[in-house]
């Protein structure tokens, strides 16, 4: 364990350092996320106003605000660019430099990325959470923060990150075959955004669709941790949801390993 820590820690540190090195990029990322949240806020505000009732499919407007911001913050910490990174490294051949090091290729990506996630958690998700709690206090006049839910949220978000990373890794391996990922990357992102509930809460969908989507890996990548934080799950359901996440984490882990062993034989480094 200590050996693993020592070997992969440098990758994590490098991940943190490169996020910080490109500061403007990072600031743009954060501001863009916030702008998106406010746009969605006004959109849903209009929906609530025109619906004429205080709640909409079990969500009050306060719930909706919490959902929008938290879903976005969760998206930031579970964000994984490994598919574009690996795609880029395959396209320009620099994956060679990764392959000549005595480390697990997937673990080295994982360590680099989680460095970035930690930064995004501290700089973005944490302030957003505090902001949410202040908002809820102003709206409802009492403190709504549940430490247990927050801890479960962190656990669930970690599982969500692992799934997101592995799914993206699998997707990145497609670059071994097609060599340029950009087009299908956009396709993938819009599908995932819809199916994971980060565009529209899954609770708003027809019952049959919601049930299906809740058992698909996409809801595990964003929706589950947010709902846990909001306390929308009873105890039994909470454990079911976490179990679903764990099972998906294992499945996509296995799948990514399987694809890797097949893909690495197909690798064709272009140029140089």
């Amino acid at each position: 364990m200590n050996k693993i820590r020592k070997q992969y820690f440098p990758f994590m540190r490098a991940g943190i350092q490169s996020v910080i090195a490109y500061r403007m990029n990072f600031i743009g990322f954060v501001i863009g996320g916030l702008v998106y949240c406010f746009v969605m806020y006004y959109l849903w505000n209009a929906v609530f106003l025109s619906s004429g009732s205080d709640t909409f499919m079990g969500f009050s407007m306060t719930d909706m605000v919490v959902y929008l911001f938290l879903s976005n913050a969760t998206g930031e910490i579970t964000f994984s660019s490994v598919s574009t990174d690996i795609g880029e490294e395959i396209r320009d051949g620099s994956i060679s430099m990764r392959l000549i090091k005595p480390v697990n290729t997937d673990m080295s990506y994982f360590a680099t990325e989680i460095g970035g996630s930690i930064i995004r958690f501290v700089v973005f998700a944490l302030p957003v959470t505090i902001g949410i709690e202040i908002y809820r206090y102003c709206m409802l006049g009492r403190i709504m923060f549940e430490p247990v839910n927050f801890l479960l949220y962190l656990l669930s978000a970690l599982l969500a990150y692992i799934i997101s990373f592995r799914v993206n890794l699998c997707f990145g391996f497609v670059a071994f075959y097609v060599k340029n990922l950009w087009g299908i990357g956009i396709l993938k992102n819009s599908i995932v955004n819809f199916l994971s509930g980060s565009l529209i809460p899954l609770a708003f969908m027809p019952e049959w669709m919601k049930t299906i989507l809740e058992y698909m890996p996409f809801s595990s990548m964003n929706y589950t941790p947010v709902m846990i934080y909001m306390g929308k799950y009873g105890t039994t359901e909470l454990f079911v949801r976490l179990a679903v996440q764990a099972v998906w984490a294992l499945l996509v882990y296995g799948l990514s390993k399987l694809i890797w062993f097949g893909a690495v034989k197909k690798l064709c480094v272009q140029g140089g």
Binding site: S96, I100, K101, P102, V264, L267
Partner: protein, 337 residues
């Protein structure tokens, strides 16, 4: 130490017909072609040898190196290095090798150089005391101290290459793969790098495989050369042997007295050699004749030139390996077609 047996690597390539129409066509119905980058390459390198791996651009040198380092999986054939098959146990295998690809870097782009080394130290599990000694040693021969605290992205090419060479040697590898380690460098840096390679080879019996386009790299470093062209092995043997077989080219340079002049065309007409065997250059006062000494002995050429012009100075150059390789390439290419 290193065994390569019948290595073959095929790539599939999409072919696009020219123009917009061709682009659309290849979007819907891509035409594929199999390109053979390496074909039936076999050689053996004993421990402690420096092997020069040469060939023209696109000959397949890098592809072979990538198979030997475990990056690519051969389509057929196999290689065994240090008793290990790179493709079977990559993680353990790469512990024992050092690799430099001249056109890429393994240094952490955004970190100070020294940090890269401490990262590599952890990855390769080098002990503290060993690491210190090693850094001292690399510092001495590669002179890294001036830029060791600068971020890698600010280094010049010469500095970066020295840093990359040092990175490949840090964990005392048994085998070094150097793919064009001197590309684009000035003489001083080249010399630095050559000394590092020589020293590590002598002191640690490190086996080295080196690809290069720089002839002096080969002359100074390599015990043996393997030459490939169009993916095929065309020569395997010592440099001396190669020179004996293909290197009967000599170069004579004369400084001519300008007043006496020299009619180049007339000079050429009076030599009974084919265009293959003689090249004449006349640059102001310096008059250079490169010729096949088997077809015309050096003495004869000297006498003839001395009689044709008033000569102030003479210099004789040994067989130029660039010329040898050019001739060998020509023959190799001819043999394939």
């Amino acid at each position: 130490m290193i065994y390569a047996e019948n290595l073959r690597k095929e790539f599939t390539k999409n072919i696009k017909e020219p123009g917009l129409k061709g682009s659309f066509k290849s979007l819907f119905k891509p035409k594929k072609e199999i390109v053979v980058a390496a074909d039936d390459i076999s050689f053996h390198v004993p421990q402690g040898e420096i092997l020069g791996f040469i060939g023209p651009n696109g000959a397949g040198k890098s592809t072979v190196i990538k198979m030997l380092t475990g990056i690519l999986t051969p389509t057929s054939g196999s290689c065994r290095i240090n008793g290990k098959i790179p493709q079977n146990d990559r993680k353990n295998y790469v512990r024992e090798i050092g690799v430099v690809f001249g056109q890429r870097t393994q240094l952490w782009w955004d970190l100070p150089l020294l940090e890269t080394y401490t990262v590599l130290k952890e990855i390769y599990e080098v002990e503290d005391s060993k690491f210190k000694k090693r850094m001292q040693f690399l510092n001495d021969i590669l002179e890294l101290q001036d830029f060791i605290n600068s971020p890698v992205r600010t280094l010049s090419l010469g500095q970066r290459m020295r840093a990359d060479i040092a990175a490949s040697m840090l964990h005392s590898p048994k085998v070094l793969f150097l793919d064009e380690p001197t590309i684009g460098l000035d003489v001083v840096v080249k010399d630095n790098i050559r000394r590092a390679i020589m020293k590590i080879n002598k002191e640690e019996k490190t086996t080295v495989i080196l690809t290069t386009h720089d002839i002096s790299d080969i002359e100074l470093l390599c015990d043996r050369i393997v030459m490939i062209d169009k993916g095929k092995n065309v020569y395997d043997g010592s440099l001396r042997e190669l020179k004996k077989n293909f290197g009967q080219m000599r170069e004579l340079s004369f400084e001519v007295d300008p007043i006496s002049g020299l009619d180049v065309r007339k000079f050429r007409e009076n030599i009974d050699l084919s265009d293959e065997d003689v090249i004449i250059k006349n640059d102001q006062n310096i008059f250079t004749v490169r010729f096949n000494s088997e077809a015309m002995p050096v003495g004869d050429m000297l006498n003839y030139t001395l009689s044709a012009a008033k000569i102030k100075d003479i210099s004789v150059k040994d067989a130029d390996i660039e010329e040898i390789i050019r001739r060998l390439y020509k023959e190799g290419a001819g043999g394939n077609e």
